[in-house]
Structures are given as C-alpha cells and as structure tokens.
Symmetry: C2
Subunit: 225 residues, 2 copies
DNA sequence: GTAGTCATGTAAGAGGTTACATGATTAG
DNA sequence: CTAATCATGTAACCTCTTACATGACTAC
C-alpha cells in the first residue's frame, strides 16, 4: 500500500495489477521488455492484457522501486538490451499481493449495461451483437483451453522453469492452482455464451410476438373493411 | 465516435459508457445530479458504478454537447437545483450506442490474475480470499435479484414511467430485455461462486496431500532411527 | 537491398478513484 | 439548535489507450 501526499490529496494505491503480472512472469525467468510485450500479447495477455506503451515505463518504475534489477546485455555489434530479473523485494511484494485481501473491482461491464437498453436497438442489431459476443468468447476459450492443456501436460515452458526451483512434492499443487485460475475464466466465458444464446432465443420470441400482433391488427382492419 | 486531434496524437472515443448509463436513466424521467448519484449507488450502480465526482462533470459535458438540457429550479428560499432531461440528440446517441457493435473489453480481472499465483500465498490466505469472493458475489446476487423481481413484478418506478410512453404491445418485450441483462450478471456471479467453491475444495485437497507427504517423511525418519 | 523482427521508448488524452470543499434545507 | 439530507462542485492522482518514433539486427 503506497500512499502519496501532494498538498491535500492522498491517493492510496491498492490494485497495480500490471506490476504484479510482470513480477509473476519475471519470477520464472529473467526477460527483456520485448519478451514481456510478446508474452502479454499471448499467454498472459489472456489473463491480463497490457500494451507495450505501458510495459516499458512500468519496468523502469519497478526498477526504481527495487522490485527488479536490469542487466544491460549486448545485442549484435552496437545494440543493447535490458534483461530484467526479480529481486528479493520483488518476490516479497508478489507474495504480499497474493496473500492480501483485495476488494472486488467495481461492477462495470459495458456489455451488460448495453444489454439493459437493448430494447432501444433494432432486433437484428441485437442479434449481431450477441453473435459477436459468442464468437469472441469462443475464441478466448480456445486460447485459455490451449494454455490449460499446456500447463496440465507439463509443456508450459516458464511454469516448468519455475518448478525446477520448487520442491518436487509441491509441483502438482502449483499446477492445480494455475489450472484452477484458467478453469475460472473458461467457466465464466461459457456462462457468457449461454447467456447470449438465451438472448438470441429471446429475439426470436419477440419477433414472433410482433408478427402475431401485426397480423392480428391487419385482421381487425380487414374485418372492418 | 469522437476524434480529437492534438498535435500528432489522435484519440478515438469508443466506450464512454458512463454517458450512456446517464442517458439511459434520464430518458425515463428528468432528474438532478444528486438523484443520479443516489441512483448509481443503488439500482444502476449494480450494472455500472460511478462516483459522484464523475457524474457532475459528465452532466455538464453532456449539456455542452447538447445531449441533455438543464432546467434550473428553485429549492427552498435561496438554493437552486439543475434538473437534467434528455434531448432528441441524446436519445439518438443512446440508440446509436445500443445499436452499434462494440468490441469486448480487454481481459483484465485482478481476481483471476491473482488466482494464477495463489501458489505463492499460504493456504489459509487463499481460503479467506475465496470465501470473501463468494460472500461478495452472494451480496451482489441479492441486489440484482431484487431489481430483477421489481422489474418483472412491474414495481420498478423509472421503468414503468418509460413504459407509459411506449406502445402497450411492446411492454413485455422491453421488460424481458432488461430482465435478460440482469439474468446475465446473476448467472456470471453464480459461476464465480461455483469456481471459488472448487478452489476451496482444492485447498483442502492440497492440505491433505501435504499432511500425507509430511507423515510419510517422518515414517522414513522413524524407520531410519 | 529490403523486409521482418528485435528492441525501447514518448506524447497526449480518456476514464476512474480518493479526498477536499461548501452551503442550503428539513426533520426532530 | 443540530443532525441528516439535499445539492453541487474541484483537485490531484492513477491506469489504460491510441498513436508516434527510432534504430539495430537478421534472413533472404
């Protein structure tokens, strides 16, 4: 918990998850900023996405805070690269974060907010959005499932590197915890898909009802004629 | 889609959900900023939370953009209040937002990120966090369910006000759409609870395994003695 | 030589959080 | 008269997004 005092405003940092996501990867193996950028585009990006423009400055801040150390290594003739490794203070911070209670993030999902106002959109637009919702979560499930299987099948490179430094009798426990996290996002995604499918069914139902009302109306008009 | 050009950077606004959440409430009935603050603490806050310090400035910006109009009304002898109402442009913007496709927000849930590193925390700390996770989602489910029942039972004041201005044959459709959105967040919360319960079972399993390993070790030590 | 990858940054803005601030009105 | 409620703001900060920028290295 870092508190900064500037004049009268006191801001208390609670979350800072990018920092811990970075520590969580670097603890397995020292990596460059570039490596981390790629890692966040794939593997870890499925749990915590972060753009390149956020990763480089954060690494510098973490270095300044003593959570990581940077080793400058040559690359070809002139170029260099900075390889970051977690310090003891960094590991302590990661453990503290994993241990400490953290309140639920505020409810703020634009999809459900919008869904509450879907009556303002044409039915076909609602259908398209629900179908896109399903497709996007299906794609994510594929990525998560692949990662899940890689960890479970002991083919996840960085995890295995971490395990070589852990007692053998703990290996299965570590893997089960990581697998459990992935099962969480997969389960959530499946729930989202089921919800969107019920939404599509609701659209059909509404369409039928409207058609019924329209034909009943025209019948009345006909009988009047 | 608002594009602002400043020097070389072009920032394209895509989300701005607070604006649409405000329009979505104001379309039912003109309200003051204070009313909206209270509404976001309760009812709508369960779908989109927003603090007071965000609501007042956003209302001013919406007014400047012509999405709402403010009517200054007296309050007692000296005090005044500003009652905001949606304009035609505001309704059009709300409909556009409800209709347009919006990409899924980036994956960024601190709970699952942390869960992937739960092997770094003591088992009891993990248990406590999972139990808190369950409790928090159970509380949210209660709120959402109450809102769900109020809308379904035609006791939701603002929704009913909106319906008086809609054709009777559309009432059931509007209600079903809103109910569907709430069923989405409820279904998701139930999935979260089920996941956290599996996590608690996993903790027990790990504890048993560790106890087994420890006793096996002491047996070896005993037989050696 | 040139296209793709490796590598590291900066600038400007949007949206959200926490805290500070003030005053009128109303119910007891 | 006093506490709660009604009412409206501002300041400072953090995190994330989009876009701009540069240059060395490597495989062809």
């Amino acid at each position: 918990m870092v508190a900064a005092v500037f004049g009268r405003a006191i801001y208390t940092r609670l979350a800072v998850s990018l920092r811990h996501a970075l520590l969580g990867v670097l603890k397995d193996r020292p990596l460059t900023g570039y490596d981390l950028v790629r890692y966040f585009q794939g593997t870890l990006g499925f749990l915590w996405s972060a753009p390149q423009s956020q990763i480089y400055p954060e690494l510098r801040r973490m270095e300044a805070a003593g959570l990581v150390t940077a080793t400058v290594k040559p690359r070809g003739q002139k170029a260099q690269k900075r390889v970051y490794a977690v310090t003891e203070a960094g590991m302590a911070e990661l453990r503290r974060w994993a241990t400490d209670f953290m309140p639920l993030p505020a409810q703020r999902d634009p999809v459900f907010l919008k869904a509450a106002f879907f009556d303002l959109a044409p039915l076909d637009a609602v259908r398209e959005q629900l179908k896109a919702h399903i497709a996007q979560y299906q794609w994510r499930i594929e990525q998560w499932q692949a990662r899940h299987d890689a960890i479970r099948g002991r083919r996840a490179e960085l995890v295995e590197e971490w395990l070589t430094r852990q007692p053998v009798e703990e290996h299965e426990n570590v893997i089960q915890m990581k697998v459990h996290a992935l099962e969480g996002v997969i389960a959530r995604a499946k729930t989202e898909i089921a919800w969107a499918r019920r939404g599509l069914a609701l659209c059909d139902q509404i369409e039928t009802r409207r058609a019924g009302a329209a034909s009943a109306e025209s019948e009345v008009a006909n009988s009047r004629a």
